[in-house]
Amino acid sequence: MSDLRTELKQNIIEQLNLEELEVADIDNDVPLFGDGLGLDSIDVLELIVMLEKDYGIKLTDPDQGKEIFASIEKMAEYIEANRTK
């Protein structure tokens, strides 16, 4: 498992207050929404803030979110391709 994926899991657990989860509980491919981690619309906003704050990525097209936040793997791929810090 790459450091970025682990880092993302740690950040998500911390910033979204998923206190009953640990890094090892989150698979790279598990859906972040719906039946996966069960994140909600406010969590999406937090993830958007996290992308900007931690990786310098500003999302301008809301439709992108569905694909980018599909899983840890998808998020990591997007960050690796677009990060500015």
Partner: protein
């Protein structure tokens, strides 16, 4: 207005690291624990098992804990109304949001910058689809709560009302919620509400 039909069916207090159900203390922690630690310990003790709890602000966590204790021994109809009040509104979360405004604000903090969000969180958790209102008052106002609860019950808007006081300011909390219905022994009156409220506040 008072027709003597309604009773204070049950009540809960949360204050100074203690939780009372009626007059019985159901949980207590060391006074050295901070608010977050007390709330987390209460969540575990009450076996709430509701992960969304951890995302809530302090006021909502207090509301969830209090309603969990209050509803435990009762069937709660989806039309049960919520009539809450406090003096600090959502000040704790408002301050947190204000402090973040210099940089990037947190959406999950911002959503709790209204006191009535606690009503929504309790309604979601207990599947209530009912009337609700949140009053900001200088202090516990028994007359207002009694009158408003009676109006809702008399208008057949609801079969029961949860009313009371849920205040959080500078990490000090004072919660008194009671269930009003036709069941129980204690008549609903301004005097009785006041007496029960000050039970833990003397």
């Amino acid at each position: 207005m008072s027709n003597g039909n309604y009773k204070i069916t049950d009540y809960v207090h949360i204050k100074d690291h203690r939780i009372f159900h009626g007059k019985d203390q159901v949980f207590k922690t060391e006074k050295s624990l901070g608010l977050d630690q007390f709330l987390k310990a209460s969540y575990k003790k009450l076996e709430i098992a509701y992960p969304k709890f951890h995302k809530m602000d302090g006021l909502c966590k207090l509301g969830i804990i209090a309603s969990e204790v209050l509803f435990k021994e009762h069937f709660i109809s989806p039309d049960t109304a919520l009539v809450f009040s406090n003096s600090a509104s959502s000040l704790e979360t408002d301050k947190k949001h204000q402090q973040a405004m210099g940089g990037m604000v947190s959406p999950s903090v911002f959503v709790y910058t209204l006191p009535n969000i606690v009503l929504g969180e309790i309604s979601i958790k207990h599947k209530l689809q009912s009337e609700n209102v949140f009053f900001i008052e200088n202090q516990f106002n028994a007359e207002l709560l009694k009158e408003y609860a009676e109006v809702l019950l008399e208008a057949k808007k609801t079969s029961a009302v949860v009313c009371g006081w849920i205040d959080l300011k500078n990490a000090k909390y004072d919660v008194f919620l009671c269930l009003i219905s036709k069941e129980g022994e204690i008549p609903l009156s301004k005097e009785n509400l006041k007496k029960l409220y000050i039970f833990e506040n003397e």
